[in-house]
Assembly symmetry: C2
Homo-oligomer: 189 residues x 2
DNA sequence: AAGCCTGTACACCGATCGGTTTCCTCTTGG
DNA sequence: CCAAGAGGAAACCGATCGGTGTACAGGCTT
């Protein structure tokens, strides 16, 4: 049996949504989405008000696991510098898989082009969470300007995501090397 | 009269396509596109084989002007460092306009999610042109690793584009400051 | 066993998709 | 002055869009 057989319709729907929206883009149809999830359209529209809400919910569901995979555990040892670099090492590791298409939250926002879209709101929150984590570590690491460094790191992170999604970059150590340079310049030991 | 009144149907079509695809995304319909261009669908399909070809042609048409606005003229004075920084200064200046949504070529590739799409091929070429220009200037400027620096600059450029398109960033000197740091580290005086 | 709640299956809605075709009106060259 | 071609308006194609309405099947509780 498929791995999704025992899960609730809601979970099957959100899992399928996360995968299809990521792989094929937000233009994927409700019909195809429900077929892939093994859920009837009727059930989907009883669980959610609209396709947009399904997309938003699927991103929201994805957020904690996404952060957990990128960020070292809070009790893991390591200097702030190491913790920051860890994020980019993890991202580069993920980008080795051929189905990797960059940060799903960034991709959704770029595709939607509407900052007010419910999914954009969720995605923006996820990005701000990461940026704030960077800022905290930058501050702990003694960065000259923690907020600036955090924004620079997001720039590199999202640049790598966009270019990976566009199949423009292979990311063999490029972001880690760049981040090292930025950390050095900011005085993060 | 509108500025497009005297132009040929082909030019009106490509101009409207560039604007609509950029502002509303590649999912914009042929109907709306033709209406906005003041061109009949019949004419469009006599000039192009498909909507995809229109998109590719509109990007191709846009490329030279885009490069010209970003890059300093070849006879402009300036050190390689200044020439590289000029690109990011121009990009930041453009991002002040509210309708700015980042690099149209990057946005198209991210939305299409298909590296083989005719428009993706055009867009990738445009990106490679910019990267090569960076590499040349990096080499002229005595960068330790010109190819690496060029890739880093693209990372920052596309990161800024993606985040501008997603309305995540205001770009008040952020990229210029970041690029300065990278140039310093690479030894580009 | 009766009633109920989930959920599926499927027809259906108007709108729009990319694309084609028909018809008609202009302009322009001979 | 008339023929020919270019191009616009709009009907039309099958498919799909997001979203509903209806009917039925299986598992609960009481």
């Amino acid at each position: 049996m498929a791995t999704t057989d025992k899960a609730s319709p809601r979970d099957r729907l959100l899992d399928a949504a996360a995968e299809l929206f990521y792989r094929d883009g937000v233009s994927i149809g409700v019909e195809a989405l429900c077929r892939s999830a093994g859920v009837s359209k009727r059930s989907m529209y009883q669980l959610f008000d609209s396709k947009d809400e399904v997309l938003a919910a699927s991103l929201e569901r994805r957020a904690p696991g996404y952060a957990a995979r990128l960020m070292p555990g809070p009790d893991d040892a390591g200097t702030p510098r190491e913790r920051i670099l860890y994020v980019f090492e993890q991202a580069e590791k993920a980008s080795a898989e051929p189905e990797y298409m960059g940060c799903p939250f960034l991709a959704a926002m770029v595709e939607l082009k509407d900052p007010e879209h419910p999914a954009s709101v969720v995605a923006r929150a996820a990005k701000e969470t990461l940026q704030e984590a960077f800022r905290v570590q930058a501050e702990l690491g003694g960065a000259a300007d923690p907020a600036l460094l955090a924004r620079q790191l997001m720039l590199v992170f999202d640049g790598a995501s966009a270019r990976a999604g566009a199949k423009l970059e292979s990311l063999d150590g490029l972001t880690v090397e760049t981040v090292r340079t930025l950390l050095d310049a900011a005085g993060v030991a």
